[in-house]
């Protein structure tokens, strides 16, 4: 049953050094506030999992708290490179980063297999690409037709962290708009933390709303604006100017460190 906790307590209780942590959110509902709290608490040696590492993972990688990254696309959408992600891979700064790289279809199916508690997922993909030689992927014959298909191993993060618009007082969560892979991430993970824009007395049905029952969630923490500079549809707007500004902030190691000190380590989290 989800416990309603202040964010610092929830992060301290659920995320430990060395954990495999998936902070999910596909361009929408990215859990920045939780990620920043994780930085303030000084978590180390994390295996970071995420389909689309963007600014939040650029920050986590640049601060040196990740030893490994599992992902399928690392870019600043519409703007360009993630400079901290690139610096870690190209120059090992501030530390070397081990990679496990997939396609989006592969990662999505890996989460779905984890949610279903199956050992792997079956799909068509990866065939003919150089990714096959650099990642964990196999082939399996269809028992009915003999067709050769691709198998990808289930993802089972230690912790999934997501952001949603609302929770009720029993910790039932509702998110709407682009749902990404968050429900799968929560169900695939051993523990889960959901930050929300607001806690309400009763969830009202929303078109396309995804409801995750509180009894599969460990902790819910109220974090208004907790997905900024990403957004929570209907509550906050995507700060496209900040995504553009990040390019200059993150390009230089010292400018990055100074920005993180001022806005994340000493601040409240929201840039």
């Amino acid at each position: 049953m989800a416990e309603l906790l202040p964010l610092p307590e929830a992060v301290a209780a659920l995320i430990h050094d060395g954990d495999a942590v998936a902070l999910e959110g596909f361009t929408h509902l990215i859990p920045f506030a939780a990620g920043h709290e994780l930085l303030r608490q000084g978590r180390r040696e994390l295996e970071l999992i995420r389909m689309t590492p963007d600014l939040l993972y650029d920050q986590l990688i640049g601060m040196g708290c990740a030893r490994r990254l599992v992902f399928s696309y690392g870019g600043n959408p519409g703007v360009g490179s993630l400079h901290r992600f690139r610096d870690a891979i190209e120059h090992g700064w501030p530390r070397a980063l081990e990679l496990e790289e997939h396609s989006h279809a592969g990662m999505a199916n890996r989460y779905a297999a984890g949610a279903a508690d199956l050992p792997f997922a079956v799909m068509r993909g990866y065939a003919g690409t150089d990714l096959v030689a650099h990642t964990t992927v196999g082939t399996i014959a269809c028992p009915f037709t003999g067709e050769q298909l691709t198998a990808v191993p289930a993802l089972r993060p230690d912790v999934a962290v997501i952001h949603a618009q609302e929770a009720d007082r029993d910790g039932n969560v509702q998110l709407w708009g682009i749902p990404g892979v968050q429900k799968e991430a929560v169900l695939a993970a051993r523990r889960s933390l959901v930050t929300v824009e607001r806690v309400v007395d009763a969830l009202a049905p929303r078109p396309g709303g995804v409801v995750i029952p509180g009894w599969v969630i460990d902790a819910v923490a109220e974090a208004p604006g907790g997905s900024r500079p990403s957004y929570s549809l209907g509550v906050t707007a995507r700060d496209n100017d900040f995504y553009r500004a990040w390019d200059a902030i993150s390009r230089d190691r010292d400018a990055f460190a100074a920005w993180m000190d001022e806005h994340v380590l000493a601040g409240t989290g929201a840039p």
Partner: protein, 248 residues
């Protein structure tokens, strides 16, 4: 109206490609601009599909990211990422996919992973994203890329996305459903795979561009059609709509 730049011609040519098409899969940047332009000028019913899960999005602005709120708010349906790949892309429900890349080879295979060695890259690029499965399964692929020797290379540093593999028959051997790349639209012209060999061939050049200029911007000995067509200049309607869209 001032004359169109080569970049504008590239966008207009990509938009024209969507005349009569039901659905198009697009990323951000020029492909997104082209698809919105196609809805404005050629094909108002065109279904725009973004990887973020928005099917039938009707954006008024060119979105910065594939997940901008406007896409979700205007979509016919918004689905999860597993559903997008397993129910919509994999079964080949999308007619055309626009893809970009940092490197393109003579068989329209694409690299968006690394420049240099995978383990010690000179430049780490974003990675595959949805491209490998999109290119395998969508009805056809249109590549949109800037024409330069560092983009159009003899040999990819990393094969992220299969176009026509090592030539004719490669896609069939891999069991792919879609036809693969049918055009590469650049700021200089259009390359199309030779029907027999699948090697990219220059079939169209934009106004004011010389064939030799295209050859120099290509990192392999480029095949050229006997008489490449000249791209019809953007009409006032196309160019006016594109500039109005870009100014929103």
């Amino acid at each position: 109206m001032s004359a169109a730049t080569n970049g504008e011609v590239q966008t207009v040519v990509a938009a024209r490609r969507l005349t009569g098409v039901r659905s198009v899969f697009i990323g951000v940047g020029r492909p997104s601009t082209a698809a919105i332009l196609a809805r404005m000028v050629h094909n108002p019913g065109l279904v725009l599909v973004y990887e973020s899960g928005t099917i039938g999005a009707k954006p008024f602005h060119v979105p910065l990211s594939i997940g901008d709120g406007e896409l979700a708010e205007t979509a016919d349906s918004v689905v999860s990422v597993p559903e997008m790949f397993n129910y919509w892309i994999g079964p080949g429900r999308i007619d055309v996919a626009f893809l970009g890349a940092a490197q393109v080879d003579r068989f329209a295979n694409l690299n968006s992973t690394v420049i240099g060695d995978y383990d010690r890259p000179r430049t780490r690029l974003p990675g595959a994203g949805g491209a490998p499965e999109i290119a395998a399964s969508c009805g056809e692929v249109v590549v949109v890329a800037p024409h330069a020797p560092r983009t159009f290379v003899e040999r990819l540093d990393f094969l992220t996305t299969v176009g026509h593999g090592d030539g004719a028959g490669a896609r069939e051997r891999l069991g792919f459903r879609g036809a693969g790349p049918t055009a590469v639209i650049t700021d200089l012209g259009v390359l199309e795979p030779d029907p027999a060999t699948k090697e990219l061939t220059l079939t169209q050049i934009h106004e004011g561009v010389e064939v030799d200029q295209v050859r120099e911007a290509t990192g392999w000995a480029l095949a050229v059609a006997p008489a490449p067509a000249t791209t019809p200049a953007p009409t006032d309607q196309e160019l006016g709509a594109l500039r109005e869209l870009s100014s929103r």
